[in-house]
Structure formats: C-alpha cells, structure tokens
C-alpha cells in the first residue's frame, strides 16, 4: 500500500522521478495511480516525508507467480583503454554458473540484469555462462553506479517480472545495492553465501557467521525474490558455452536526474599490477612474521609474478612493517578465498585463519610443526621458509 498524507505540499519533486509515470499532481497534491510498483523512488525524494509505503505482512503475501533466477550484472571499468569502457566483473560469471544450477533445479529460467549506459554485446558473454535472458536497461544515467538509480531500476524490474531469486556479487557495489533493494521490497537477503541450493522449492542459503565459527542455513520463505550476495571466488565457474546467446529483453525505465542524490567528485582506481584486488585473486602468496625482513618478504612477490598471484600478509607481518596494510589478510584485513593460498611463516592466529580459510587449497610452510595454520591447510610443510622460498623461485623459473 502507498499513501500520500496531508503533509504533501505539492512540490512536484516526486512526479518526474517515478519510473512508471504513476504519480500525478492533482489539486496540488500527489496522487498515485495503478501503474505504481511500490519502488519507493518518490518516497526518497519527498522533502516532507508525505509518502509512505506500508508493506504487506509476511504471512499474507501472495508468492505465486514469482518465477526465475536473476543475477545482477556488475560492470567494472576496463583498464584496457583500447576496448569498451566497461567490462563484466568476473564474479558475475560465477553467479551465473551457480544460478544456472538453481534455475535448472527449479525448472525456471536464468536471467541476467544488465544496467548500463551503453551495452557492448555483453549478452554474448552472459549467455555463454548460462543466462537464458538478459533484461537490459540502457540509459545515459546508468553511466556509473549510483545507489538510488540502480536500486530504483531493479525494484521496478522485479515488480514487473517477479523473479523468485536474485543473486548479487558480495562486492562493495553488491553489498551497497542489494540491501537497499531488499529493504524496499521487504524481502529476505542473505549476505556472503558460500553455498546455494534448492530445498523444497526454496533457496537454501549457507553462510558462515560469528567470524567463521559456525555455519548457518538461511531461508526466506515468506517473500520474493529471495536474495543473496556471494563473494568472489566462492562459486565454481562453469565452462562457458560460446555461441549460446541470451535473449535480450529491453526494458524502458525512465530515470530522472534528481534521483542522483550522491555525486561522485573523484574516483581513483588502482591499476598497477602489484596491487590486483586481493579478494578476487586466484592465487595468493602470503607471508607472516616468520619472513622476518622486508627483503625476504619481497621474494614472495617474485613467486607471485611467476605464478600470477597476489601477495598477502598476516597482521603480524603488517605490524612489523614487512608489507602494507592493503595486503593484510584476516579479520582486520581482507577476507580472501583464492583457489590457492600459499602461506610462508604464518603461524595462523585465529584472526588470520578466519580471513583465509575459505581458500580452496591451502599450502602452509612453517618451522613449528604445531603451528595452528596446519589445522586448516590441506598440505603442510615443516621447514624453514628462508631456505624454501629461494629454491622455489629457482624451480619456478626453470618451469617457464
């Protein structure tokens, strides 16, 4: 239900922002017609809080007719200036890979939701990774991410097409957008899922909680779409089937400039190779206190170059000044989940372990056979990192 109270001053701010032309000004009062999808765009711009959306109680909501698994397509700036200005962030493909399985299990379709100022044939890649359909909103206002604009567009789309589930990358963008959408739709959102499955027709979402000390299975039985965010590198990437093209469905959603309430003044992306995003890295070579000196720590960077990985560091190493904080893995640093995590001279304090134990394969080298890191490692090597690292570099060089 949406209501306009007596507080309305007839300022006309809400009329242009409505993506569906559902608000009119009649007798200097906002009046909302049946085209309204409860997206909340008007509520956000109302200066006197005259518009209020009351949500249906969970128990009485009609969930029939919600079908399909959606994946939010996250775009990122393309470093390669010879190509299109944006490209699809890899986590999107991971979401499509798992989304495909979920959709098959449900016998429903998998759709990608693409919001952009200019589509550059993205549907080809999205199709290759499993999308049946791409809902495309192309609008000049979508040139960069903006919470209000993106959430309004997605809310409008979900009202129109009623998906049953929707997945987002647990990136900074995804974690900004998804809760805004979920809040407006009064629907369940589960963050940082490490497992997704279908159980009795519902999306069963598994996630760690309490610093990774326990796992929880979460359901959102009373509301749709059931929404989840998933960290990069958590879901297995499917083999792409090139040539499988998704059907593009163009959606015309009006986006008014006044919805942009947060403006970007400056943006800096860190492009140099050494500082590839650690939370998206496929291989991380990490060092701890045991590396002792900056020089020795630098050797880990050499291994990274040889393997194509990113350098990580324990809090101890950061505290000793061996590496800057941007590389810190752990509770007070970054949580990572690479395919390979090589740990040198890291004893494995709990606060480090919670930040890296989701890694696929952990190989740890430590002098102390009782180091707790061996409790989470798949392979443990008892030995001196200072001897092993140079020899490993040598061997890897020979490989090339």
């Amino acid at each position: 239900m949406i209501n306009v109270s007596k507080k309305c001053i007839g300022c006309n701010k809400c009329v242009p922002v409505c993506p569906f032309a559902a608000v009119q000004l009649i007798d200097k009062k906002a009046v909302i017609n049946e085209a309204c999808t409860l997206c909340g765009a008007c509520v956000q711009v109302c200066p006197v809080q005259a518009i209020e959306i009351t949500r249906e109680e969970g128990a009485t909501r009609d969930l029939t007719g919600h079908k399909g698994v959606w994946v939010f397509v996250e775009l990122m700036e393309n470093h390669d200036k010879t190509k299109h200005s944006h490209k699809i962030r890899p986590v999107t493909f991971e979401l499509l890979s798992i989304g495909r399985k979920l959709a098959d299990e449900l016998g429903e379709e998998l759709a990608a939701v693409l919001l952009t100022d200019k589509n550059a044939g993205f549907e080809k890649e999205l199709g290759a990774y499993g999308a049946d359909k791409v809902y495309l909103v192309e609008n000049p206002e979508l040139y960069e991410y903006n919470t209000d604009i993106f959430s309004t567009a997605i809310i409008a789309l979900t009202h129109k097409h009623k998906p049953s589930a929707m997945l987002y990358g647990a990136t900074i963008m995804g974690r900004d957008l998804a809760p805004r959408v979920a809040s407006c739709l009064y629907t369940g959102l589960t963050a940082d899922c490490t497992g997704l499955a279908i159980k009795d027709g519902l999306l069963l979402q598994s996630r760690p909680a309490f610093g990774g000390n326990i796992m929880a299975d979460i359901l959102s039985p009373k509301s749709r779409p059931q929404m989840s965010t998933v960290r990069p590198n958590v879901m297995k990437l499917a083999e792409p089937i090139y040539g499988k093209i998704a059907v593009t469905v163009r959606e015309d959603i009006k986006i008014d400039k006044s919805l942009r309430r947060v403006k970007v003044l400056e943006r800096k992306l860190i492009h140099d190779k050494g500082s590839v995003k650690i939370d998206e890295a496929r291989i991380i070579v990490s060092g701890g206190r045991g590396m002792k000196t900056k020089e020795k720590f630098k050797q880990l960077e050499e291994i990274c170059q040889l393997l194509g990985g990113v350098v990580g560091a324990s809090r101890g190493a950061v505290d000793m000044g061996l590496k800057d904080k941007a590389h810190q893995v752990g509770q007070s640093g970054t949580t990572v989940s690479p395919k390979l995590y090589l740990a040198f001279g890291i004893s494995g304090a709990v606060q480090h372990i919670v930040g890296m134990k989701a890694s696929d394969i952990i190989v740890a080298v430590n002098k102390d056979p009782n180091a707790p890191i061996f409790n989470v490692a798949k392979h443990g090597v008892v030995g001196d990192a200072h001897e092993i690292v140079p020899k490993l570099i040598e061997a890897l060089k020979k490989q090339k």
Partner: protein, 546 residues
Amino acid sequence: MPSMDAISRNLMLDSLRDYARKNIPYDFIREKDQANEFPDKVLKDMYDHSILGVHLLMVPEEYGGVSGGTYDIYRICEALAHIDLGIATAVFATFLGTDPLNVGGTEDQKKKWLQRIAKENLMVAYAATEPDAGSDLVNLRTRAEHVLKNGQLAGYRITGNKQWISNGGVADLYTVLALAPGGPCWFLVERNMEGFAPGKHEDKHGIRLSNTAALSLDNVYVPKENLIGEVEGQGLLQAQAVFGYTRVMVAAFGLGAGWEAVEQAVRYSQQRIQAGGPLSDKQGYTHKLIVPHAVKLEAARAYIEETSNRLDGGEHGLQTEGAIAKYSATEAGNKAADDAIQAFGGYGYTRDFPVEKIKRDIKITCIYEGTSEVLEMTIYRGRWQEHLKSRGRYYIDLADRMDALHDRNPEVGARAAGLALRALAAVMEECRVQKLTRHQAITFRLGRLISMCELAYVFAGASAKERYSESVRFDTQAWQAMSRIFARDAALQMATEGLAMVLGSVDTAGNIAAAVDMDGVQAVQKGMMADMDLVAVKLKQTFKAK
C-alpha cells in the same frame, strides 16, 4: 564507598585492557624487567585523568574521582596483575598511600589533597616499613618532633629512614608513618621538601617494573596541617582500619597473576604435542599442573568477591576476612605460577615465555602487605576468638548451613565442605582442651586450615547461586565441579592434617579420630576423577590456543 554499577566498571576495565594491549606488549615488559627500569610513560598515562586515571578509583566523586568501591578495586587490581605485577604495584602504592587520608583525613585535608591527587595526577607512595620495622611496627624509629612558633605548634620535623617503599623514587607525594610525641601518625610529605631524599631503585627478584627505594628524611619540616587527622597517635588505627580491603587488593594481585600463568599454560598445553597428542589431553599433566591451581584460584575468587561485597555493603574492618582472602589467593597464585613453569617444561625456564617472570613477580604478593606467616597468625587469632566466644559452635554452625545447602543443591560440594568445617571445629576444640595452641606451629597451621575450610564454605555457596558475578568465566557445570573438587580436598586435608597435628603433639588423644569423621570424608571423594576431567575440558574450551 559502595561499588559502582557493573557497566561503568567494565567500561573502565575495557579501557585499561585496551591500553595494555596497545602499549604494554610482553616484549616491552621483558625489556624493562631485564633492565630493571620503571616504565614511567606507562605509569604517567595510567595516572593521567584524560587518558586512563586509574588512581581516581580511590578518590571520592566530590573530590574529582570516580568513587570506586572494594569490588571495583578488586576487579581493576586483578586486571592490572594480568598485565604486569610491577605496574600493578606502582598503581597499588598510590591506592595504599591515599588510604590514610581517606580513612583519617579531616574534611579540609581530603579536599585539598584528594583534589590535588585527582587533578594533578599525583603518584603517591606509602611509607611505613623501616629496616627494623616490617610487619611489626612497634620498632618504628622515624621521629616527628614538634616545631613551635610563638609557643604554638606550627609543624613537625621528621627524621628517619624508610625501606622498600614502592614508588619510593618516583612518587610526588608520600604518606609517611612517624612517631610523634603523641604516638605514631601519618604525615603528608611532598617530594620537593627539604631534607627528603629517595634512595636508589632496588635490584629485586621480581616486580622489577615497580620502583622500590629507601627514603631518607633528615629534619624534613612539614606544617601541622600535613598531619593526617590533625590528632597525634591515630596512625596505627588508621592503618589497621583499611587492612580489610588493602589485603583484598593484594589478593586480587595473586588471583590475576596466578590466573595469567594458568591461562598461558592451558593455551600452551593445547599446542604442545607429546607422545601423539596435545599435553592438554593428558591427565598426568593437567590434573597435576593445571586443574588443582585453577580450582584453588576460583575458590579464592569466590572468597575475595564475598569479602569485597561485604565491605561495600558497609561492614567495617573485616581484618580476618581480608587476611584469608590475601593468604589464599597469593599462596594459590604463587604455586600456580611455579607449576606453570613446569607446564611449559624447558621453555618455561627461559625468558622467552612470560611465566618465568610471573613466577618471580608473584612471590612478592606472599610477602608484602603481611607475609603469609603473619597472616596465618592473624587468621588464627581472629577465629580462635570466635571459637571461644561461641563455645565451639562457630564452625559447627557453618557446617549446619552447608548441610542445609547440600539438601537444596547436592552439586556444589556442600556435604564435603560441611565435613571439613565439622572436622575443623573438632580439631580446634581438641586444641583448646589439650592447650595445644602453646605451640606456635599449631596456631599457624590452624590459620592455614581455617582459610581452606572457609574458602570451601564460601565457594559452595557462591557456586550454588543462580547467576554468577561478571568475573566468573565458567558456566555452572564447570564452577560447581570446581567447588566440589575444592571441598573434597579441604575435607580430606582438614581431617588428615588436623588429626596428625593433634596426634603429633599429645600423649593421649581424646575422641578426635572419630570426630573428624574420616569415613565420611572418604565417602565424599567419590566422583573426584570425573570432576577433574570435566574441569580440564572446560579450561581448554575457555582458554583456547592462540
């Protein structure tokens, strides 16, 4: 002063712990310990009312303090002891030095000095001990002579030497005990007064971060307003009046430092693999080196808490209780630290691990503020009076209460505690009948047995409570198992030692063998091994390997 609300207290504890985490790592302590250096920056921060202001606990609100009660001070002292006992002692010395003022100062004196202590972050020292006057202040040599002006008393000239004064070399203000013509009294002496000179920092076995120095006073003139209470001869009474809770503070030191050692050992034992498994899973290790100490420390905690709460509730003195609290906690802590070294094996004997330092530090808690032996005597004296006054009923009444508690809650070891108390009553009565207290050794030993039995009594009561206090880090199951272990041990020791003590000093023993009820004591030992196993597991859960 009644104690403050739990939330405020715990916020202060959090601030203190956070400060320590950021500023007092073990490497720092180790360096200072080896160099025998006072960490002046740390203490400055602790005394800075805009950074921490720990000293404000002893200053009432109206003078710019935070009005800490005994319970608050116990909790802070325990936390300080976890950090470093030397640093703890430096804070404690100010508490102690402020005491005579709090207890005996006139309104004007409190206003002037307590406000200065609060606002100017003054570090205080408590100067009582002399080369010939330790626990026994009768030989006090420091003299305060009248200085007259126009025939009126204007002030005093103090002359003498003080020894082993904590903060002696670094304090801003000293509360000095001296013999005036009207008897012993406390004087406020400022560091910059003429004729006052601190000696060099002592080279001590432990608490090396605490500055300890001799003081020399050579005709130091203090105005008569600096005589605490402005009446001569009140000094010893003023000192005695606070023994209850100053001893609770040192008890908290034994508790905190002792637990720090045990915690370190528990964490280590889970990482150290020997003969195919961690040491923490081996009974021969845990049931000897860890569990008994954890149990004794928690029994001492229960007693400290009860004594603190009684003092905060307005009871005065509680000298015997303060003595029992300090004696039990510091002896338990000292032995726990000793076994913590053993628990670490060769590593424990090196300075790479803190247990070696804790062991050296904690020894002082069995010495200062009344040596363990002086306390044994104090405890015996206090309770012997009760025994006589009540015609032998004192401990029998407590035993009856334990039996009643056992009927309500059979899980807390109250039956065993009751047996211990009955045996104690019987042994004391036999000592009276046979006049055995002429042997000093028996009186001191009674002091020890009394402490143990009273701890069993208090621990059983505390562990039966529905909700435990904020300081208890164990669940009901664990704390009650600890109480049972303690009570069984108390009953067994009381019965065997009490009996042996009497039999060793008389020709014909009366009915004492039957009175200690050895059969009953043996019967309650049932379940001991299972409880020890349980506590070992709980300790492991509570203090995970880091």
